[in-house]
Symmetry: C2
Subunit: 503 residues, 2 copies
C-alpha cells in the first residue's frame, strides 16, 4: 500500500468504529426515551457487548500500525490539516484506548448503563443510600482507568482529556478561579441592587402542548434542521448524534415554569446546530467531529444565552410568546419579561441556574470530583460535602439529595471530568460572540428581524467546519485572536446585568 | 474442552450473534418509527455494517467446527430437547449462512433498507415506476441467494425455509389449494345469503385518542405486558423484539374506521404475547426463539380472530367500547356490532380483509412470488398480474397500485417467501384453539368474564415454552395430535358464518 491507500484504509477503519459508536448512541438514546421498564438489563448487555467490540476494533494492532506508519509521513505534517488531524487525533485516541483492558471498558459500560437506571429510581425516591454503591463502583472504575492510562500531575487529568483533549486540571482551575473572583462580587452587586425582576410571571401556567410548539418554532428559527433531527421528552435533556443526518435533542416540560423547556430546547438546539454544521464527508473522522465538549457547550450556550436571552431576540419572539401563552403573558410588558428571564439569584438546580451563578455550580462539582478522584473524599461523604459547598459558594443548601447531589445524570453515566467543560463553554461562547460581532457588526437588528442565519453561517465557517482539526485552545486563538479567558464573559454579564439591575 | 464446555462456548457465541441481531432490530424499529426524514442513508450503512458483522460471526469456521463436533455427541441425540435443538437448529442456520457470500448479505441489507424508504414514497405518490427498480433488484438478489444455497425442486423452497424451517413449496401449495377449494364456495354462500351486516357502524368517527386507549386496555387484558414492551404508531403495523423484556408492537389509526387499529393491535399483541412467553433463560438460542413464522402468526391470529372476533369477547368488551366511543356506538346493538366485525366480503387490502377472504390475498401473493422466483414473470409485469389475480380470486380489481401491488412492505424489505406463513398461521391457530378447547373445556364463559389468562397459560405451556425445539409440523402434531390441516379453520368459519348469515 502506498501512503494514500494506507490513509484510506485508516479512514475506513475509523468509520467502522464510528458505526459501533453511532449504534451505541441510538441504544442509549432509546434507553432514555423509549425502553420498556423491564428492558434495562438486556440493554446493558447489548451496550457492554458494543463497548467490547469498539474496544477491540479501536485497539487492533493492525490499526495501530497504520497510525504509526502514517504519523511519520508528509500527510501528518500539518497537524491542523484534514489529513494531519485525522492521523494524529486518531493516534492519540488509539494510544489512550490501548492502555485500557477490555474487561475495564466492558465493566464501565455495564456499570454505567445499570447505574443510570438506579439513579432514576434513587432520585425519584430521594434515597442516596440506594445510589451510593453504584456511585462508588463508578468512581472506583474511573480511578482504575486513570491509573491504567497514567498521568503526571493528577488522575483527574486523564478524565478531563476525554472531554477536553489537551486541557489540564491546573489550567482549568486557574481560569475557573479567575472567573469566580470576579463573579462573586457581581452576583453580590445584583443581590444588593434596588431592582428585583418579577419572576412570578415565569411561574404561571404554560400548557405543555404550547411550550412544545413554541420551542420547536424557536429552535427551527435559529437553524436546527428537523429533517436531520428530532426533539423528544426525557428526564434529563441532552443532544445525541447517531448519524450525520440524525441529530436528536430532548427537553423536559414543566407546566408551571417557562424557562425549563424553552431555554433547555434552545440550548440543545445549539448543540444540534453544531453537529449539523460538521462536515458530513468527514463523518466519523476528526475533521467531521466536534472539537471538544467545551467548544460543544460554547455553541449551546451561545444560542441559549447570548442569543436567546438577548433583548433583540425577544423583540422578535415576545409577541409570538404572548400568542402561545395568552393566559400567562397577555398583560406582561416586554421589559418585565426580559428582566425575569435574566434574573440572577442563587438556586439549587444547575440546569435551571442563571447565566452568572451557573458557573458556581460547576466550580462545586469540579472541586468535589477532583477530591474524590484524588482520594481526598469518599463517595459516601458526597452529600454532606455537596451541601457544605452550596452553603459556601451560593449561601443556600438543598433540602433533599434529589435536588442536591443526585440532581445530575453525569456521575451515573460515568461522565466524570465533564462538568468543567460547561463553564469552558460559557467562556468560549462569549469569546466567539465577541469575534462574530467584531466581524459582522452589531447583530441585534438581525435578531430583531428573526434573521439568525448570518450568525449561524459565521459559526459554520469558523467553528463547525474546523471539526477537531484544532484543539479547543488553538481554535479559540485562531478564531478570536486571543487565548481562553474569562474576560469576554465577564464583560457580557456586567453590561447586561448593570443595565437591568441599574448599578 | 469437554462436551459441556463446548456447548457453553457455543451458546455464548450464539448469544453474541443475537446481540447483533437484536441491535439490528432496534435500528429497524427506529427507522420505521423515529428516524428523521434525511437519516435513511446512514441508517442503511449502519444496517449493512451490522449484517456484515452478523454474517462474519455466524459463518466463523471455529463456530462451525463447534457445531460439527457437538452434533455427533449425546447432547444432540434428542433433536427436540433443549440442547439437541440448540445444536441442530444452529447447525442448520450455520450451513445455510455459510453458503452466502458476505457481499450478497450486505447488498441485501443495503438494498432493502433503502428500498423500504423508496416504497414509502412510491406508495404515497402511487407511482409503481418509482419502486420498480428497487423491486427488480431485490428479487434478483433473492434469486442469487436461492442459487447460492441450492435446492432440489424450486428456488422458492430456499426462501420459504427462512420463515418456515422444513416446509416445502409443494406442501404449502397442497394445503392452500385444499383451503381455497372449500373457501370459495363458503364465500359465495355468504354473498348469496339474505342477511348483510351493517358495516357503516364501523365507519363512523372513532377518535384516535380513544382508539389508542381502548386498544391498550384490550391488549393488556389478553396478556400483553407493557412493562416488557411498548405500542407505537407506524405506517405498516408490526411486532419486533429487541431483548427478552423488550417486545415492541405498532399499529396505525384511521379515525373513520374502527377495525384498522383495534384488530391490528390485538393481532400484534398476540405476536407480542408469544415473544413474551418464550423462555428468557434461553434467549438468543433455539429453545428461547420462535418456532416459525407460521406458528408466530398462529398466535396473532388466535388472539385477533378466534378470541377478538368471538361473541363472548364482545360480551365483555362491547359495553366498554360504547363508553369509549359514545358518538359511534351508543345506539348500536351488540349483535349488529358483532355481525359487522365479522362481515365477509371481497376487498382490496390484505391487512383489513376478513377472516375468510384473507387467505385468498395470500394465495395471490404466493403464486406471484413463486412465478417471479421461477423466472416465469418479470417484476415489471407484477402490477398487471396482480390485478388479474384479484379479478380471478376475488372478483374485484384495485383502482391504484398503491392499493394493489404496492400495499405491502414485505417485498421492499426482502421478505419474499413470507406471505404463505400468514395462512399457515390461520390454519395452526384453529388447530391450537380446538386443542385448547378440547383440554380446557368451553372458553366462552371465561372470555365473557374478561378471563384470558387460562388460554394464555395453555399457550405458554404448549406452544411458547417449546420455542424452536420442534419444527412447526411436529409441534402441531404434538400439541394437536394431527398434522397441518385446513379443516379446523373451515369448521370454525362455517360455524360462525352460518350462524351470522343464516345459511
Amino acid at each position: 500500500m502506498n501512503e494514500l491507500e494506507k490513509f484510506e484504509t485508516l479512514c475506513r477503519r475509523a468509520q467502522e468504529i464510528k458505526y459501533l459508536g453511532s449504534i451505541g448512541a441510538l441504544l442509549s438514546w432509546d434507553q432514555q426515551t423509549k425502553l420498556p421498564a423491564k428492558g434495562g438489563e438486556y440493554r446493558a448487555e447489548q451496550l457492554t457487548f458494543l463497548a467490547g467490540e469498539m474496544h477491540r476494533c479501536s485497539t487492533d494492532p493492525v490499526y495501530g500500525e497504520l497510525l504509526n506508519d502514517l504519523s511519520t509521513t508528509e500527510l501528518a505534517q500539518d497537524p491542523n490539516s484534514d489529513r494531519g488531524a485525522t492521523i494524529l487525533e486518531l493516534k492519540h485516541r488509539f494510544e489512550k484506548n490501548s492502555k485500557l483492558p477490555k474487561r475495564l471498558v466492558q465493566e464501565l459500560a455495564r456499570a454505567t448503563s445499570l447505574a443510570q437506571q438506579v439513579w432514576v429510581e434513587a432520585r425519584k425516591e430521594d434515597d442516596f443510600s440506594k445510589f451510593a454503591p453504584s456511585l462508588k463502583q463508578i468512581f472506583d472504575l474511573k480511578r482504575e482507568e486513570a491509573e491504567a492510562v497514567g498521568y503526571d500531575d493528577t488522575p483527574y487529568d486523564v478524565l478531563l482529556d476525554d472531554f477536553e483533549p489537551g486541557a489540564t486540571t491546573k489550567e482549568v482551575a486557574v481560569v475557573l478561579d479567575a472567573l469566580t473572583r470576579e463573579l462573586v462580587p457581581l452576583i453580590n452587586a445584583v443581590r444588593d441592587a434596588d431592582f428585583e425582576p418579577d419572576i412570578s410571571i415565569l411561574r404561571r401556567n404554560y400548557p405543555v402542548e404550547a411550550q412544545s410548539e413554541f420551542g420547536r418554532l424557536a429552535s427551527a428559527a435559529i437553524g436546527f434542521d428537523f429533517e436531520r433531527g428530532r426533539l423528544d421528552t426525557t428526564n434529563h435533556p441532552f443532544c445525541s448524534e447517531m448519524g450525520p443526518d440524525d441529530i436528536r435533542i430532548t427537553t423536559r416540560y414543566d407546566e408551571a415554569f417557562f424557562n425549563s423547556s424553552f431555554f433547555g430546547t434552545l440550548h440543545e438546539a445549539g448543540h444540534g446546530i453544531y453537529e449539523q454544521g460538521l462536515r458530513a464527508d468527514h463523518y466519523g473522522l476528526p475533521p467531521g467531529s466536534y472539537c471538544s465538549l467545551g467548544i460543544h457547550e460554547s455553541q449551546s450556550r451561545l444560542w441559549e444565552n447570548l442569543v436567546g436571552r438577548s433583548r433583540s431576540f425577544w423583540d422578535r419572539f415576545f409577541p409570538q410568546a404572548q400568542t402561545f401563552f395568552p393566559g400567562a403573558l397577555q398583560h406582561v410588558a416586554k421589559p418585565d419579561f426580559f428582566a425575569a428571564i435574566n434574573d440572577v439569584r442563587p438556586s439549587l438546580i444547575r440546569v435551571e441556574a442563571d447565566e452568572a451563578t451557573y458557573n458556581l455550580h460547576i466550580v462545586i462539582r469540579f472541586e468535589l470530583e477532583k477530591a474524590v478522584m484524588q482520594g481526598e473524599l469518599e463517595t459516601d461523604d458526597l452529600p454532606a460535602a455537596w451541601n457544605a459547598k452550596y452553603q459556601e459558594f451560593l449561601g443556600i443548601e438543598p433540602e433533599s439529595d434529589a435536588n442536591g447531589v443526585m440532581q445530575d445524570i453525569h456521575w451515573s453515566a460515568g461522565l466524570i471530568g465533564y462538568f468543567s467543560t460547561y463553564s469552558l463553554g460559557n467562556l468560549y461562547a462569549s469569546q466567539f460572540f465577541e469575534a462574530a460581532q467584531a466581524e459582522l457588526g452589531d447583530l441585534d437588528d438581525l435578531f430583531a428581524d428573526g434573521e439568525f442565519g448570518v450568525l449561524k453561517d459565521w459559526l459554520n465557517q469558523n467553528v463547525h467546519r474546523r471539526g477537531a482539526c484544532y484543539r479547543s485552545k488553538l481554535l479559540s486563538e485562531t478564531v478570536c485572536g486571543q487565548p481562553l479567558s474569562h474576560e469576554p464573559l465577564m464583560r457580557h454579564l456586567r453590561t447586561k446585568l448593570s443595565a437591568i439591575y441599574g448599578f
